[in-house]
Each structure stands twice: as structure tokens, then as C-alpha cells.
Amino acid sequence: MTDSRPVLTMTGISKSFPGVRALHNVDFRLLPGEVHALMGENGAGKSTLIKVLTGVYGIDEGTVTLDGEQVAFNGPMQAAAAGVSTVYQEVNLCPNLSVAENIFIGREPRRLGAIPWGEVRRRARQLLARLDLDIDVTAPVGSFSLAVQQMVAIARAIDVQARVLILDEPTSSLDAGEVAQLFRIMRQLRDEGIAILFVTHFLDQVYGIADRITVLRNGALVGEYPIAELPQLALVEKMIGKELDVLELMEEHPRQSVTATEGGSPLVQVSQLGRRGSVAPFSLTINAGEVVGLAGLLGSGRTEVARLLFGADRADRGEVRVDGARTGLRNPVQAIEQGIGFCSENRRAEGIIADLSVRENMILAMQAARGWLRPIPRRRQDELVDRYIKALSIRPANPEMPVRNLSGGNQQKVLLARWLITEPRLLILDEPTRGIDIGAKAEIQKLVVQLSDGGMAVLFISAELEEVLRLSHRIVVMRDRQLVAQLDNDDTVDADRVMQTIASGTEREEASR
């Protein structure tokens, strides 16, 4: 569409980390007034390319030119000053500072050496108004939802007279309405001539907004394509570089094992479990070998249910039975003793211990359950860790690497391994596939099916309805922090019906029969 000269060109970029070649001879160009999707699996090098571009990492080889001039930024601040702004996947704001302060931090307007706070607030309000956001700019950023925080981060980015705006998975924590709002803003900015580099794992979104696509695989460039010339299936093939056997396998599988529920015995039964201000009392039974999907909008109470079942938050009413016997789930230790595992949706804050190695992260839950006086023998550790690195194809396959050096999808797999090692009877997975590429996603979905076939109960939480429908024997629908329906996932249930239930909240268990 646009035939103008590229605003940004990266040529022959290579970047290595100890033990990993993250990028190898990658070319990339960005035209003004386009939305350019950067696609690839986890660990394909998307994030690294962005960090190399903005100067977070140095470049081993290759050149970057901005408007025909060669540049080498020494950090995001310098990049932003030159017009290349970034909004990262995980919102990088200071939660304790106000919205206005966050927007202007590091480049506050000065008058006689002092900061004119009135002007700061006024300009912050203007910027947010451009994004159709009407919030109190003096309130701390941490008091707003992730979606609003994301908007604030974008407001901060576009204020810097950006010519290039990089959005690294901006939508992974947004609900559909917020995504639409974000897209409207992206189109508006694009029409103003800003070049937008967009990274996401949602294929629909790519086809909803992008003009061109660049695909990376294993740190190398696969190609650059206009959106019209690359149908969805072809894109997926280019990203994972192999036939779609895994995905097709998944497609054949759906709901075949529903019958397994018939023989399943109740594993966990909760009645009227609730917590004031968090989730209304709900009753739920999870059988052995059953996958229970938890559907609902962002903020509908999905995560809160999971946290109560794991004892991460303490319930203030209700009763829990495991194997028919009354028990308390007052803290994670008790839940783990009952054979429950929990992968939080918030990988970075509640999942990985960034400092520790892959091995240590994997054995952590098992070690905690044994107590520190009974260390797991090193040979046993290595055995377990090797097995799960292979089984989950964790890359790089180096157990002693600090887990922070792994890509998001691989960190997620490490967390899965942490719980699988404890051989739980109920595994609670809160958004296990969020921010993960399609290959890893299929692997995790396949794993869930395998685990339930092996008799493990899984509570599967996801914002992606399709995924919930595909994996679950039963679907629990949350709405406004209430459990509004439980649907057996038979032929009568499809995305529309679940959607309607989410929307209306009227469908009842009895009605589904």
C-alpha cells in the first residue's frame, strides 16, 4: 500500500547470549504509516529483535538505520528521544506513582528548574483523551486494571513524538472491547503516519489490523509478506516450520474423552465457597480425570475461583471436601498436601523465581513439600528435570540456565514441570497459554488431554473460548464474580452458547439439560 521509503531498516542483525544464538542475520524494515506484525514462536527472537532495536541489548553484528541515518541506541530512553517508542508485553510502569507522573517520568516539563504539576496533569489528561480514556491522572497507576495500565503505557509512548511505535504483545491481557479500542487507536496513529510494529500471538488480531507481516523462526528471518498474500494457514506453517500435525491431531481429538466423566469419582467438592469482595459463594465438583474449563470475561472472577481452590486466598465461608472428607484449604501448603497444583496467570510475579536455574525452579514445589531437611538427591533432580525438559521440549535444554533467560513460553513450561513433578491429582492452570506461540500452545493443550486421560483432574482457565471448548469435559461460566452456569460440553454446546451465557448470565445448570 505505501510505497514510501522505510522509516526504519535493520540489516544483517545477529545477537548471541551465552549458550543461545537469539538472532542470526535478520533483516527487517518498517514503512511509515503501516501496522507491521512481527510473528514467530516463543524463542523465535521477536522480543530480542525489539530489544536490540531499542538498545536494551547491544548488537553483535548488523546495522540499524532510522530515516537513512545509521543509529545505535544505548537504551530505550535514547531510542524514545529519537522517535522509537516501545510498550512492552508486561506493563513497565511504576505502580506507586500517579498516572501523570508515569506518563512524564524522565522527561517532565521544567519551569525555572521546578516541575509545573498543573501542566503535567493537564497534558496527561489531553493525551489520555486522545485515547478516549477518562481517568483520574493523580491516582496511582497500580490502582487501575491491567488494560488501563496498558493504555497509559501507550499514552506515554506516543507523547514522545513517536515515529515508530513498538507494541510488544499489548493485547495479551485485554478483553475484546479493550482490544477493539486499542485497534481504533492504532489505526488512528497509523493514519497520522506513525509506523507501528505489532507483536501478538493472536492470529485473528494480525489479520484484523496488520498491513504486512514479517516472520521469524529460531532467530532467523523466514520472510516478509503483505497480509493479502499470506493466508492464515500459510502463516502458521511458516512460523512453526513443520506440517501442522500437532494441531491437526488436536482437531481430531475434541471432546472424545467426554465419556471418561461417567466413570470419574468426585475428587474435589466445594459448596458455597466464597470470599467477601473477591468471589460470591459457589459450589463446584471436580472429578478425577476430568477437564473443567472456566470461561468468562476478564475480571469475571475466574482467577479468584482458582486462588480459593488453591488456598492462595483464604475463603471466608463455605466447605471443601477432598475424596469426600472435609478439609481446609487455608493456604497453598494445605492445598499441595491434598494433591492440588496451581500455575498462576502471572508468570513473572507469582510463578518463576527469576534468579534461580531451570532445575531449581522445577523442583521447587516438590522440595517445599518434602521440607528443607530432606533435600531431593541431586541425581534424582537431574533425572526429573531432564525428563521434563524433553517431555515439554523446553528450549534451551540447559537445566542450569537462570530461568529469566528463557522466553515466556518456555518459562510457562518450566512452571508446568514444577507442578507435574509433584504428581498432583488436580492441576489448576490459569491462562497457561497466554502470550505463548501457537506451537507451544498446541503442546500444552495436548498435555492437558494426556494428563486427564491419565486420571488427573484439570481446572483449565482461559480467555480463549475456543480453547476451553476444545479441551473441557465441562464448562463453568463466570460472570461478575459469580458462578452462573455449568455446561456439560456435549454437542449442544458451542462458542455461541457459552458466549450467550457469559453475556446474559441466565443459563442455569438445569436449563442445559
Binding site: P332, A349, L356
Partner: protein
């Protein structure tokens, strides 16, 4: 060059390379200034010499710093260790001073047990404030840092307690196998803490809690208990250090025993490579850090640097050590020497020139 060069680079990249280099440079500088500096001689079956003195004098600091390492690893800090030194020293000395026979071994052991018991209670107090009540560690331990001095004064009734007890003095000045007993005590403590943390899973769990407390809790770790435990261990280490300090001078002074030792201990931990933000800890590094600080103090005395400028001298060296260790600073330094950014793969040659001497 590649093989030897690579090995050299690995060596340079080792965590303990720069602290060791600093220690070596300091010892070398001393030897140049005073050729007999490193001399050790055997006299009456005891080894004497400046290196032995440095080891002996650094023993209390090593003890305090070991406990501090674990506390810092959990993301905390313990400012009260100096006061705990003073309190435990005062209790031990008070009990001995009132005993009919100060040379009685049972008396001394009873005194030590009592003082250690009180120190454990003080550690538990810190632990409860931090892990149960949730006060920020720096504030929680500041309470005991300030109040503890008063407590020590109270125990000693405002006096300096002087004792004349052979067994007690031995803790600071005694010898075993030609070497000062204090060295063995510090070594035993170091081995004990190392075994305690690295032979069990405690070390990993402490690092895990320090690295990410909420994630650790969700992995089933009782974070509170771990945090509580490290403050108790820290107080116990400080108590033993307090015995050494008071045994050295056969007297307990509530005002001055262990004064500012918390700052030296924190410094030793940081020089040893443990981050103040918590997470990974390095006991070997901490011991090296303590040795560096004591060597520095000895150097100041040996070189007759006037007391007025001694602290300044110390500060300059400490800043240099910290800067040399910081990868960010080294990178900047290298880049400036190389001329324009971005730096090409720096050669070992350039790094070699950089060693300060």
C-alpha cells in the same frame, strides 16, 4: 590465543575474581611498603605475624557477616547485630564477673549458654517483627539496634564489666594447633552454615524466598518460617562474635562492643557478590569480603595513616572495590577506552591493562 584467551576471559568473568584481585593487590602493596608484612614465625608453639593477625581479627566480622548473608538473601537486612554483640558480651561477662571462680569452665559455658539463649530470643523478636507483623526489615531491626545499646547498658549498669577468666579469654586469644582459636571458631561456623544451607535444601529455599516471596509461597514454601529462621541464625552468629570481641579485651562495654559492625558486615556481604535485593547468596564471597575489610583496617594501621584520614582512605578503597566489581561500570570504562560505541568484542589485552595497581 583462543584457548588461553578464553580461559583468561572465564577467569576474569568469575564472580570472585575481582575481590580476590583486590585482596592480592592490597597484600602486595603492604609488602612493598613493609617487606616483612607477610612474614609468619613460630614462637612458643604459636604462629605470629600480620597475616595471622588479620585472620584472627576478621573472625568476629566473618561470623556476623555469615548470618547477614542469609538475611540479605531473603531480601532483608539486620541492623541489630552490633547491639546483639554488645548484649551477649555483656551478659556473659556479667555472669562470669559475679562467679566465685572465674576460671571455672562450667561457669564460662553457663555464661555462654545464657547469653546465646538471650541472643536467640532477640533474633526471634526480629524474626517476628519482620515475618509475622510484616514490618520492613530495616525498620524492624533498627528498633533493636537502638534499643539494644540501652539494654546492654542496663545489663552492665552503665559500667564497663571487666573480667579475669582464662577460659573466656581463650575464645578471643587462645590457640589451637599453633593457630588462634578464633580462626577455628569462624571456620567451624562457616562450615556449619554452609552445610546447613547447601547440604539441605535450605539454601535454595532462602534464595527462592528472597528472589520472589509470593511465587515461593504459591510453590508451597512457608516463606514466613524461613524469614524468621534467618534472623535467629543472624543473632546467634552475632552473639558468638560478641563473645570474641569481649574476650579479646576481657571486658564488655555496652557502648562500644560491636559498634558499627553491622555496616562492615553488610559491606562484606555486598563485596562477596550477594545482592542487597535478595536472591542468590555466596558464603565464600562473604568471607572474602570480611577478609578484605580487615586487611584494609590493618593496612591503615600498618601504613601509619593518621586516624583522621583513615576512614576516608577506607571509603575510597571500598568505593573502588564496588565499582570494579560492577559489570556496568567495567563495560562503560572499557567503552570509553575503546573510543566510540558500540564496543567490539573487547580483547583480554584491554581488560588486563585495567587492573588497578
Amino acid at each position: 590465543m583462543s584457548d588461553a584467551g578464553n580461559r583468561f576471559r572465564t577467569l576474569l568473568g568469575h564472580r570472585l575474581f575481582w575481590p580476590v584481585a583486590v585482596l592480592v593487590v592490597m597484600l602486595a602493596a603492604n609488602t612493598v611498603y613493609r617487606p616483612g608484612f607477610l612474614a609468619v614465625e613460630l614462637n612458643n608453639g604459636h604462629l605470629y605475624g600480620t597475616p595471622i593477625d588479620i585472620l584472627r581479627l576478621s573472625a568476629p566480622l566473618i561470623l556476623v557477616a555469615l548470618g547477614m548473608t542469609l538475611v540479605i538473601s531473603t531480601g532483608g537486612i539486620d541492623l541489630s547485630v552490633g547491639s546483639v554483640c554488645a548484649i551477649s558480651g555483656a551478659i556473659a561477662c556479667l555472669y562470669i564477673s559475679r562467679a566465685p571462680d572465674q576460671d571455672n569452665l562450667v561457669t564460662v559455658l553457663t555464661a555462654l549458654a545464657m547469653a546465646l539463649g538471650v541472643a536467640l530470643v532477640l533474633g526471634a523478636w526480629n524474626g517476628v517483627l519482620v515475618s509475622v507483623i510484616g514490618i520492613q526489615p530495616i525498620i524492624a531491626t533498627l528498633i533493636l539496634m537502638v534499643a539494644g545499646r540501652g539494654l546492654a547498658q542496663l545489663i552492665a549498669e552503665g559500667q564497663i564489666i571487666t573480667i579475669n577468666s582464662g577460659p573466656y579469654r581463650a575464645i578471643g586469644l587462645g590457640h589451637l594447633l599453633t593457630l588462634p582459636l578464633a580462626i577455628f571458631i569462624a571456620l567451624a561456623a562457616a562450615l556449619l552454615v554452609a552445610a546447613f544451607t547447601r547440604r539441605t535444601a535450605l539454601g535454595m529455599i532462602v534464595e527462592s524466598v528472597g528472589g520472589n516471596r509470593e511465587a515461593s509461597r504459591l510453590a508451597g514454601i512457608r516463606s514466613g518460617r524461613v524469614v524468621f529462621l534467618v534472623y535467629v541464625v543472624s543473632a546467634a552468629c552475632a552473639a558468638i562474635a560478641g563473645f570474641m570481641m569481649t574476650a579479646n579485651v576481657s571486658s564488655a562495654d555496652g557502648n562500644n562492643t560491636g559498634l558499627w559492625v553491622e555496616l562492615d558486615a553488610i559491606l562484606a556481604v555486598v563485596i562477596g557478590g550477594t545482592s542487597l535485593a535478595g536472591g542468590r547468596f555466596y558464603l565464600g564471597g562473604t568471607i572474602l569480603g570480611a577478609l578484605i575489610i580487615q586487611t584494609l583496617t590493618t593496612t591503615v594501621y600498618a601504613m601509619n595513616i593518621s586516624p583522621q584520614t583513615a576512614l576516608l582512605f577506607k571509603a575510597v578503597v571500598v568505593i573502588a572495590v564496588c565499582l570494579i566489581q560492577a559489570p556496568a561500570f567495567r563495560a562503560k570504562f572499557r567503552r570509553r577506552r575503546a573510543g566510540t560505541p558500540p564496543p567490539p568484542q573487547s580483547s583480554p589485552q584491554r581488560q588486563k591493562e585495567q587492573v588497578p595497581a
